[in-house]
């Protein structure tokens, strides 16, 4: 066994509010012994949860459960199986939504286990087959699950080395693992993993701190790897949830309320009763139909005459006033972060900038709308659905139908994106309700309008900043308040002796709100980095020099320099209507700096011509996938920066179509240069979120540079044009 260093534990990342309220839970109902026996033979490695509670371990012992010589702990993060055929199967609750984690986790396993990637199969997000997992969000799959699967793989490799040593009667130290086999180079003999995995199942439970291979010695990881099952996506063979079918399946349609929160007063279904094969399901305020084909289901839903009672509700016009008026003081009543005496320092600062920023509600708009296929079998329920939290949806279903979670199975096919928008299971609950009412499997696919209306939104927000700077360009004071949009990345990454930063939640926000790619880090970075730009101008410093002067984080410093070099920031030349801006940040273990060049047309149209972004997320697992995530995040960020805003009034969404809600298209795409800063000496972090945060402020600062107009609202160019006459 080779000596390996252990990676330091990743720093805690901040979760969204409702995720913080979610306490870790462990499943006891699942029959692990049965599962292990179902594997037949081979070698199974179970990885004890990093967060395993003593109580859980105790419960495991008391239950007397034991397999081979090890008790099976109840808190398992992942498991891995090596079959007598040599095939490696990994079971994890993480899911694939386009962030390419199926590929990069496969790389980590292949790398640590010393097998080719083709030998590895990932079973993901099937609640009946994988250990409990809170969900795929917060950019935590790479730092946590990636590390844990490496530990499980390292343990498996050690088991194999020991088995070979025993078989040959030699010591482990003369053996090495490579290419899916254990080799004894001195004696020119080898045993494949499959040969070593013959016979009865050998199950090993390993602690969470098995040493793993340092990034400098990676072979499969750290290099580009082709997307697993990539061919299935270019041939149309991959089945997303909307593509699944069951014999006898019906197509569902929900009759939607007239407004948010509306109650069902009456439903006249007489016109539907004449339609053959159509079921009408009413349960409280829920009303829906199921029919043998989609066209009939649509016609039936349209033929239902429902009377709804709705309350008057606020509209866009009153949104921001509402948020500041209804916010709670401080985070959950307390101060989030405070150092020094900010009031006195602000009063004494020779240069002060004070401003308010507004953030609109926006939608995730995953191209695959919410979908679910539900089937009841006796008292048991099985649902396929695209969700980032299969176990969360399992719990929601169990609660909705008042049944044990053990009787609910949720399966998650690789899904047509989520961006933080698919944490919940409303479509799964609806499909299951229709299926129970109809007594047949029901397939439900939301329309785009439903997706725009009934999915949750990225929170709108108001951000107030007061800041002071000394004549030497050093920050003197910083006070920042975020109303409703969220606490993620609220703390400044710059050095300030006196500061106060508070998040003020709004408990009764007008629209249903939840996670979104990077959470509030987009909003908070936009406000902070726009403000930093103002401060740089106030003291007459170059925006880059000003940031570096106030930055004590070496890795942020490095990405700023890397982006500026690639962009030729120092060599930028002022041209009419052209502007240059930059912005940076730290979030979820990632360090990011973006430079943007824009052109503002006389009518206010903004063209983003070029973006350079440097990104450091530690040791890079898959540079090809990473580049894709960074460029994708930047492109998605253009929408929130310039165009996207949900319009609403009286509990209705007024622009629930792509024709009226502009998202970035080919013509909006700037030239994007990605600079990867690979830190093999640092743990790997995720890249699905943080790359998005630099875009809006870099573009906003470039707009200011171009036409001296400071936009403090997201989106900055609603309707596609800057408001030139405010």
């Amino acid at each position: 066994m080779s000596a390996k260093t252990t990676l330091p534990p990743p720093p805690e990342v901040e979760l969204e509010r409702y995720e913080l309220r979610e306490t870790p839970r462990y499943r006891f109902a699942f029959d692990r012994r049965g599962f292990l026996q179902s594997l037949g033979g081979g070698i199974a490695i179970l990885l004890a949860a990093r967060s395993a509670l003593p109580a859980a371990a105790q419960a495991a012992q008391e239950s007397g459960q034991a397999f081979e010589r090890h008790p099976i702990p109840q808190a398992i993060d992942a498991w891995l199986h090596i079959a007598p055929s040599g095939a490696v199967t990994v079971f994890t609750g993480k899911v694939e939504v386009g962030q390419n984690i199926r590929t990069s986790l496969s790389q980590a396993v292949a790398d640590e286990l010393r097998v080719p990637m083709s030998a590895v199969t990932m079973v993901m997000g099937d609640t009946a087959r994988v250990p409990f997992d809170m969900g795929t969000f917060g950019s935590r799959t790479t730092p946590q699950m990636g590390t844990e699967l490496r530990r499980a793989s390292a343990a498996a490799r050690n088991v194999l080395l020991n088995l070979a040593a025993k078989r040959w009667g030699c010591g482990c130290d003369v053996l090495h693992a490579a290419g899916g086999a254990v080799h004894d180079p001195a004696k020119h003999r080898s045993l494949t993993y499959g040969e070593l995995a013959q016979g009865e199942l050998l199950a090993e439970t390993i602690p969470a701190h098995e040493p793993t291979t340092p990034a400098a010695e990676w072979t499969v990881a750290g290099a580009p790897a082709p997307k697993v099952n990539g061919r299935d996506f270019v041939t149309g063979k991959h089945r997303y949830t909307p593509d699944l079918k069951l014999p006898g399946m019906l197509y569902g349609k929900v009759v939607r309320p007239s407004a948010f929160g509306a109650t069902l007063v009456a439903a006249d279904v007489s016109a539907v009763q004449a339609m053959p094969g159509v079921h009408v399901i009413r349960d409280g305020d829920f009303l829906g139909v199921a029919a043998p084909d989609l066209l009939t289901a649509e016609r039936a839903a349209a033929a239902v005459k429902a009377t709804w009672h709705a309350q008057p509700q606020i509209s866009n016009a009153g949104l921001f006033g509402f948020l500041t008026a209804h916010a709670r003081p401080g985070r959950e009543g307390g101060v989030h972060s405070s150092e020094g005496d900010v009031a006195a320092a602000l009063a004494a600062a020779p240069h002060r900038v004070e401003a308010t920023y507004h953030i609109a509600y926006i939608q995730h708009c995953p191209l695959e709308p919410r979908a679910a296929l539900a089937v009841w079998n006796g008292g048991r329920l099985t649902v396929w659905t695209g969700t980032q939290r299969p176990f969360g949806v399992q719990e929601q279903l169990a609660q909705a139908f008042r049944m044990p979670e053990a009787d609910v199975r949720v399966l998650m096919p690789d899904t047509g994106s989520a961006y933080g928008g698919k944490h919940t299971g409303e479509c799964a609950v609806e499909a299951a309700r229709l299926a129970r009412g109809a007594g047949k499997p029901v397939h439900l696919l939301w329309t785009r309008e439903e997706e725009f209306t009934w999915a949750y939104f990225r929170p709108a927000g108001v951000i107030e900043i007061k800041a002071g700077v000394n004549p030497d360009g050093r920050l003197a004071a910083w006070e920042m308040h975020n109303y409703n949009s969220g606490p993620a990345a609220l703390n400044t990454m710059y050095t300030v002796p006196h500061k106060l930063e508070e998040f003020h939640p709004v408990p009764n926000a007008p629209l249903r709100q939840g996670s979104y790619r990077s959470l509030a880090a987009c909003a908070n970075h936009f406000a902070r980095e726009s403000h930093m730009d103002d401060l740089a101008h106030a003291v007459g410093l170059d925006p880059l020099d000003f940031r570096l002067k106030n930055c004590a984080h070496p890795r942020l410093h490095d990405v700023y320099l890397a982006a500026a070099k690639q962009f030729n920031w120092q060599g930028r030349r002022k041209r009419p209507r052209h502007g240059f801006g930059l912005a940076g940040g730290i979030e979820k273990g990632g360090h990011v700096a973006a430079c943007a060049e824009v052109r503002v047309e006389p009518d206010g149209e903004v063209r983003i011509l070029r973006v350079v972004e440097a990104f450091d997320c530690g040791a890079i697992v898959n540079p090809n996938g990473l580049r894709n995530q960074i460029a994708g995040g930047l492109t998605m960020g253009i929408g929130g920066a310039l165009y996207e805003a949900i319009e609403f009034a009286d509990g209705k969404i007024l622009n629930p179509t792509f024709a009226r809600y502009r998202v970035p298209r080919f013509r909006d795409q700037p030239q994007i240069d990605v600079v990867l800063v690979n830190r093999k000496d640092e743990p790997s972090f995720g890249a699905g979120e943080t790359p998005i945060v630099g875009l809006a402020p870099a573009v906003g600062n470039a707009i200011f540079d171009a036409i001296a107009l400071r936009r403090r609202d997201l989106p900055m160019a609603p309707g596609g044009k800057l408001p030139l006459t405010a």
Partner: protein
Amino acid sequence: MARVTHLNVNGARRALDVDADAKLLWVLRDSLDLTGTKFGCGEGQCAACTVLLDGTPRHACLTRVGEVGDRQVTTIEGLEQNGRLHPVQAAFLEVEAMQCAYCTSGMILGTVAFLRRNPHPTDPEIVAAMDGHLCRCGTYDRILAAVKLAASRLDGSAA
């Protein structure tokens, strides 16, 4: 109610029995189980449902099956020939011009039709031709690269 009983899809004459008012998208997906053609918006704004009608790209979500007639429908499932990817499919795979890949079928069919019309496109011509296709993951730069790679490969061939 008018019915449609035959459809020419991917080189085969397929028997079915559907309402002529049904949209081609759902007939392909639900009646013929050709689920590679995706629903994204139902309003012709995302082009995830793109199919070819006699080689011309159409939004299957807006196309009544009754108006298809004897025209040849090509879906993503019809591009592969004897287990060999179409050069446009191969280019998308090679460049990895996808993330969640839900838009990929429509992108590929849009590209196939476009390159037949314009085998030597400039970048602005590709952007203009593909602008109706939405990739919410934002992989436009790679799709552009894939279209160019496919164009270079198709150059001179009959595909």
